[in-house]
């Protein structure tokens, strides 16, 4: 749990593993694929002649961009699927419960939202995902799932009629009101994802700058850094059992030099 303390100018941090490397990689694969999907999707929604100059036999802009759209969709679906699987495994600390909108999570999320909005009340710390963030991730994942479904509904009609995929896609699309409605859902849900991602990124930057929790490094490297002088404060919330009593704030302040880093064992 505690990977060791590192030295930082003026501050000593406790490094805590919060994510596996795989979970970090998947996050950024998802990010890149969703950005690609949004950009290529924007071209498909509002194609511009600027990219399609020349004779039709020599230009293949729309087809190429649709190809990259489908390619990015494949990456997105795969990483979503792998992440969903990992959420049940030790690799991601069986964190599926942190994302599901259970009554407990919703209650905690409302409390946290109240605190984030007003600054009143106590700030409960969470080692992994906080309930509000978990709810946001749940909404983004659900939106991505809708995008995958509606995307397939628009992709499969080009298959041979009569095949099982074709007839499934057909009956689902028509029970929703036809392909035009599927297209509308696909378009509007993209805006929902953009809005959610905007809030997600804002909240992470905000949290990272207001609280010294280093949320952003936790998604890049998989570690969170906790200032050692507040370790008692955090340890209570994170349920971290400390081997020795951490130095108090007075002790830290009275020390003329920062405490040197502990030598690695062996």
């Amino acid at each position: 749990m505690t990977a060791g303390a590192i030295r930082h100018p003026g501050e000593i941090y406790l490094v805590v593993r919060t994510r596996s490397i795989l979970a970090c990689v998947i996050h950024w694969v998802l990010f890149c694929s969703v950005v690609t999907l949004a950009v290529t999707g924007a071209y498909i929604a509002w194609p511009s002649y600027y990219f399609g100059k020349g004779e039709a036999y020599a230009t293949f802009t729309m087809a190429d961009i649709r190809y990259y759209h489908f390619l990015a969709a494949t990456f997105m679906m795969t990483s979503l699927l792998v992440r969903f699987y990992l959420a049940f495994t030790e690799s991601c600390h069986k964190d599926i419960k942190q994302f599901l909108p259970t009554p407990r999570n919703i209650k905690n999320a409302v409390q946290l939202a109240y605190h984030f909005a007003t600054g009143r009340g106590k700030h409960p710390h969470y080692r992994f995902v906080n309930p509000l963030g978990g709810l946001g991730i749940f909404l983004i994942s659900a939106s991505l799932f809708i995008m995958v479904c509606t995307g397939f509904l628009m992709y499969l009609p080009a298959e041979t009629p009569g095949t099982i995929w074709h007839s499934w896609a057909f009956s689902i699309a028509h029970s929703l009101g036809g392909l035009q409605i599927v297209r509308l859902i696909h378009h509007v849900v993209m805006y929902v994802i953009i809005a959610l991602v905007l809030i997600h990124v804002y909240m992470q930057i905000w949290k990272n700058s207001v609280y010294t929790e280093s949320d952003i490094s936790s998604i890049i490297a998989g570690y969170k850094l906790f200032p050692l002088r507040q370790i008692g404060h955090f340890a209570d919330y994170y349920g971290i059992k400390l081997r020795e009593k951490p130095p108090s704030t007075e002790e830290m302040d009275s020390a003329s030099e920062p405490v040197p880093a502990r030598e690695p064992p062996g």
């Binding site: 929604a45 002649y49 600054g119 700030h123 057909f170 036809g178 035009q180 805006y191 207001v210 609280y211």
Partner: protein, 377 residues
């Protein structure tokens, strides 16, 4: 009995074929090859189709009913020349009752309908054209479905009566298939398609109007194999409604190239580029227009330079409109806005909310975490 068919009675099937006005063997075979192509059969089926049509022991009896519609499908039907009207009415089908083209009227017409129904009970094909209103009009003595009354009967009663004894019910046109324009919002007459009104599965040949090649090919399929063709989940034959217009569009190359008409009459329109940005609904519409075309393969909307409006899809007046826009509008209680307006509002609200929160928390930053206080001290 319809005067058209009773006035002309060739003796044998072969004679029937020969006796056609202006139809020789070559024309007949070319009709058969068109049918084979439409049904997606190999050329080896052409002689079989010819045989099936010629040797049909009995031409299928057809009772053609009109409900709430514009007779556009009948108009399309009688304007086809492969097969020609004469051929259709006299040789391929035995149209025993058709309100638009029969000579009889009034009580004679009613008697003809009753006769056709009793003579071919359980064997005739009921072809329905038009939607059936189910709502009750305001008024003291009004009853359900009174918005459409033919010969003293409501459309619903007539449809139920005729379709009950039919071997099969075939809906031609979008109105009969899915309700058409009169079933769209706000639908004051409560119009629905035939299937919903009579509660019996029907074969649908939607379109506005339908393409007679498809309805005749369906009947040829019936003559050839004794059954109706395989349909999709909505009851449309797969040979005609299995692929989208977009999948076989002659302008598809320009779609893939990214060359689009920006407005009618521009350079792109003159060059025959893709009509996607003009609101063409080809990618959403299952129909074979792009392959068989209308009016004997003369033309069809996209060939003429206008986008597809999706006339073979359910509720196309609601779902496919605006016809010149790519996406339908978002309609929520009390709000009707374009999808982009809704989207920009969503993203804008999120951005404004985040900015407001950022400013507020910066102003009140001491309120937040004890760690922040530590940092400042």
């Amino acid at each position: 009995m319809c005067q058209l068919s009773s006035g002309f009675s060739p003796k044998s099937s072969e004679e029937r074929v020969k006796a056609l006005a202006g139809l020789d063997r070559r024309d007949f075979l070319s009709f058969c090859s068109i049918m084979a192509a439409t049904l997606g059969l190999s050329p080896s089926f052409i002689p079989k189709i010819a045989e099936a049509v010629e040797k049909a022991a009995r031409r299928p009896s057809v009772i053609w009913l009109h409900f709430a519609e514009c007779s556009g499908d009948s108009e399309a039907f009688i304007r086809s020349s492969y097969p020609s009207t004469e051929e259709l009415i006299l040789n391929i089908l035995s149209i025993d009752y058709h309100e638009t083209i029969m000579a009889a009227s009034g009580e004679a017409a009613e008697a003809a309908l009753q006769k056709a129904m009793t003579e071919n009970k359980g064997k005739y094909i009921a072809v329905c054209e038009g939607a059936i209103p189910l709502a009750t009009p305001p008024g003291p003595n009004a009853k359900k479905g009174d918005y459409l009354t033919i010969g003293g009967k409501t459309g619903l009663e007539l449809a139920k009566e005729v379709c009950a004894d039919a071997a099969a019910v075939m809906c031609v046109g979008n109105c009969a298939s899915f309700g058409g324009v009169q079933a769209q919002r706000p639908n004051p007459t409560g119009a629905v398609g035939i299937e919903e009104a009579i509660g019996k599965p029907t074969l649908k040949i939607p379109g506005c109007p339908h393409n007679p090649v498809n309805s005749v090919a369906t009947i040829v399929n019936f003559l050839l194999l004794g059954s109706f063709p395989k349909t999709d989940n909505l009851g449309r034959p797969l040979f005609a409604y299995g692929k989208r217009i977009h999948d076989h569009c002659p302008r598809r190359a320009h779609f893939d190239a990214g060359q689009f008409v920006e407005e009618f009459g521009d350079e792109g329109a003159k060059n025959g580029w893709c009509l996607y940005k003009m609101g063409c609904k080809g990618p959403e519409t299952y129909h074979n227009c792009s392959m068989v075309e209308y009016n004997d393969g003369t033309s069809w909307p996209v060939k003429a330079g206008h986008g597809c409006i999706g006339c073979s899809e359910p509720n196309f007046w609601d779902n496919m409109s605006p016809f010149y826009g790519r996406l339908p509008n978002v309609i929520l209680p009390g709000v009707e806005a374009t999808a982009d307006k809704v989207g920009f509002t969503l993203v804008g609200a999120a951005a404004v909310g985040a900015a407001a929160h950022g400013v507020y928390t910066f102003m009140n930053r001491k309120k937040f975490d004890p760690t922040l206080k530590d940092k400042e001290e």
